[in-house]
Symmetry: D2
């Protein structure tokens, strides 16, 4: 990208999608069928057959086995990194080196050290290029709740009750994934809602769901203490069967607000009134993903980012490490506090 | 009852229950287990075994085959008439003659002529003794809606959408019973809510539910025009299977109000959020029946009535006859208008 | 458009927006900021200042005073017609002549004769190019309700209760606009939901809202009889103040379904639980408009249409004329029935 | 009461109400106007004017300054103790000595030692006479939730989220009253719902509501660990202003259930849909109180109790003491465990 100030002007953003799993394939569809100003130029995936299969769904997209190949041949302006977490750091470094815009799915990296390295590499360049895929910040109800907090329309925020419920876990699921796969979303969204960072984490156990895989005891209750005194508790339950449910109840000085309730067509039949729950995260957050990617594309075309930064990803990684330690130790664990560099201000 | 002004003072009201079907047996339980100031003295039922069986559930209650027997032997202060409609007129006349307090289940009588005769007989005595069992007037949500109408808190009432939905019909059900069994409730409650009498009725048909018995085409849409210009439409559907549902949506000049929605424990399981619907009218209106009977007992002990009068029953009978004619003719039918006698003022 | 079969291949669709009022400006934003595969090439508006102002919000869009100018200079593949209804016919004819793809806001034309002429002109060409802007067909809840009808998951559809509620009317509002501006949406969506055309219309009046402009008596109740026997009633209320609300309750043989209820953040404060209602149609149907336009763009790039056709617009115009006649006469009015030409099959 | 087995047979239960504050006066109304089989014989209150004023609302009730007076003169069968907590022990002992039926409002006594003494005194007699006023056990939704737990209809219960929200605190409110006045209800209902006793308590603080009185930091989060491993957390917030709200969300192995949501008339006006929240506990639990007192009267007439026993009151007192200690110390505190005597089996 040789454009002045990083802007590509009126031209469409040429995007490479790194990773052709469920999420990557979903982004290919999003970019090619419902995002303005962007086109899928490459699908990068080490499994060449899968790369070809996914690329064939987007007119003009090239299947590539490595990101380097894509950067060399496809004139990319931007990449969406949707490969597994352990591969994020290398891909982001390659993309930073190529000076393209980056949307990296969460977590930015599995460890805070990796995120710290990305932050430092990014800060050595002229401007921020990394946006992290915490899509909840684009969900209309989360946005409405944050506005209520900021407006103090019901007084100061005092307490948050969050619930994160999944129908079932995939093979190979381990207990720390309760934090790193799921609660990591709350580790970003809670400070964003409350306007204050997490300072400590504690994890409580309750009676074990026998539907959980061997070696995993869940549900768990994760308690987050924020710098402004607000307590947030996060119920994480991942084998409840009935659907994918993410809710937040916020207690203010003069009221209570709730988001995330099941809505839509109500059917009275067979003795009850029923509303379908979302079966998975794709449906639950489809609009948030669309808004997130559109905001990123719009910002990337102007040479910037339009959502959570690498610094936000780093803070979430720090809190996630503390939460895993709290989960294993049964103790309250402090979260390292760091002042945000002016680069991200 | 020889008491001055009809008051029985501190003594408990001795009540005879006429009719020991589902409704009569329910009233026996209500009076004997959750009504203050009343006791069941007689259970009157031509089927002697059934009379004995139901009477045995209330300590001190005597089984009787005729109302005359009960009046002669059981020192009754009051009767609840829960026998089939065609028997109401004779029972009410007998009770009026004995000068006891009367709660007569709806309809007061099947025909307006019968109700007219009861009104005239009652008016020949010193005071009103007949209360008609339109229990919806005691339902908390109907009361709240009426208060909203009267307070003009959302401006003038303009339009009412009512729905009356039953799970299924009993053997022997005929089409006119849509009006005389079900819509008759709306023929009382709609003018009560709107503060204005029904002046015309029209009945519209829609696609027939194949679950309806032979010869019955339902759902139907009953259109009521009130004297103050308000239009009320009543959907009557009696074979929907899923439960018993009675709802009202009221359109005001500055808003819309709705009552009757399913509430209670919400269960998220198997892909949806569910709230149980009431299976029948007993559960749906249990509190309204309790409040109705308590209000009647309290008023009867003081020598009066505490709810809809024989005049209200007569007006409902007039509207019901017009509605049946409208149902059969397909035409709009005027409802005879009569000024309320001062006796009922 | 010289492409084989009308397909423009991988290239972006160059769209001219005709009319730069609220709706036109909204489409300019939609196309330029959140629609894949399309770009705004022209903004056509007789008020040149307004044309320039709106065009300036979309990179590369040219302000034009006439559609002919835009077609001559801007290499258009497609037009969205969002000018006032009386101008639709001429604009659509010009666009048909230019063989570009057309999305025409409702109503297709104010009179059925105009729509009939458009249908005939279109049928003289090789394929359908006109899509009509009945965006409700793209609303997720309407789609879910239609699927429930088609699947017979609750038995056959029997009856529809529709409500269309607006906060207030603009200056110059006349009574027939209740039909032509608002109920026209139900005149399309009701047959679409029920899978059967409207065969007659009747309009009932209720007590007048004093907030309505002089000479307008509303709310009204519009009764639609469908060919399959289903009755649909539409409450139209346009001065209720509280918000924009469009709901449908569908009665099936074995249940009842409802769509359109207020959802989102619930706030308990000051004595009640509250959920914000949509203030206007833009917010209520924002996602439906987005999906509609995206579906149209995707279809247009392949040379077809992706939603309701000119024939659907013609049927709605026929029903709308009957409804206005019913409104004025107080009588039930038959809707002319015509077999759909194979061209639209 | 000289009756065989304590049964008073068909006669009405003669009840003395001890304490004529808000709760006592409410019980006078309940017994005299909507409870079957009972009559208010005495109103006992040291403030003679208040005793007379409240007694005058119930026909036949005598004002008394001491319970001993009432027992001597009014032929009492039963007492409801609604005086302040510190006076409960002496009143219950007097009533036990008189061998009358007892309904004692919560807490049974402020300290577990007092409750222990009452349990021991009661066990020295022939049968249980003390029922404790944990009325939530009679609330229809709590009953439904307990049935769901017991039926395992959604699998085993795993976790409970409870919220107890009051609009404001009275003068003289101290922090420990969060436990002793409010959370004490959950200390009874949580083990009742889960079928397992509380084994430890911990109290967490969050950001303080500035509406709380000086010296009181609330909301607080009370964590209860049950013997079966279930964790229950109770949010206690007592100055939220908007109303009185008591909710429970229960996480099961295969679903989630919720009770306590605001229901009733929904009003769409001024931009939102609103449902009124209960202003106080009387309205929220009016039906539960009625059912509780009726169950107690019915049981007392047969010589027994019909709800939570003195042993339940003692267990709640033990848990309450532990919770106050946890609140003050900031530590997790074990709750003393004791096997239930066969007397209460």
């Amino acid at each position: 990208m040789s454009a002045v100030n990083g802007s590509i002007g009126k031209r469409e953003l040429r995007v490479g999608i790194v990773g052709a799993g469920i999420m990557g394939a979903d982004h290919v569809q999003r970019i090619s069928t419902r995002t303005a100003g962007a086109t899928v130029a490459s699908v990068v995936e080490p499994d060449r057959d899968r790369a070809m299969s996914v690329a064939s769904t987007a007119p003009g997209a090239q299947p590539r086995v490595t990101l380097e190949d894509a950067l060399e041949h496809d004139d990319l302006d931007a990449v969406i990194i949707a490969s597994p977490g352990p591969f994020h750091e290398a891909a982001v470094l390659t993309a930073l080196d190529a000076r393209v815009a980056i949307l990296c799915e969460k977590p930015l990296t599995p460890s805070s050290e990796g995120s710290r390295r990305l932050v430092e590499t990014e800060m050595a360049a002229d401007r921020a290029r990394i946006q992290v895929g915490f899509m909840r910040r684009f969900d209309r109800e989360y946005v409405a709740l944050r506005q209520l907090v900021e407006s103090r329309g019901a007084g100061e925020l005092l307490l948050l009750h969050c619930a994160h419920r999944n129908p079932s876990t995939p093979p190979g699921y381990t207990e720390s994934m309760l934090i790193t796969d799921s609660v990591v979303h709350e580790l970003d969204i809670v400070p964003w809602l409350a306007g204050s960072p997490v300072v400590s984490v504690e994890v409580l156990r309750t009676r074990r769901n026998r539907r959980a895989p061997e070696g995993v005891s869940e549900p768990q209750l994760v308690l987050l203490e924020l710098a402004n005194g607000v307590l947030a508790e996060v119920e994480i339950s991942v084998n409840l069967g009935f659907g994918y449910q993410v809710t937040t109840e916020a207690v203010f000085e003069e009221g209570v607000a709730q988001i995330g309730r099941t809505a839509g067509l109500t059917l009275w039949s067979a003795g009850s009134a029923r509303v379908a729950e979302h079966p998975g995260y794709v449906g639950r957050f489809v609009e948030a993903y669309d808004l997130e990617v559109q905001a990123w594309v719009n910002a990337a075309r102007r040479g910037g980012i339009g959502g959570p930064s690498a610094w936000d990803g780093y803070l979430a990684a720090l809190a996630s490490e503390a939460a895993v330690e709290a989960q294993q130790s049964g103790r309250r664990v402090a979260v390292r506090s760091e002042a945000m560099p002016a680069f991200y201000g």
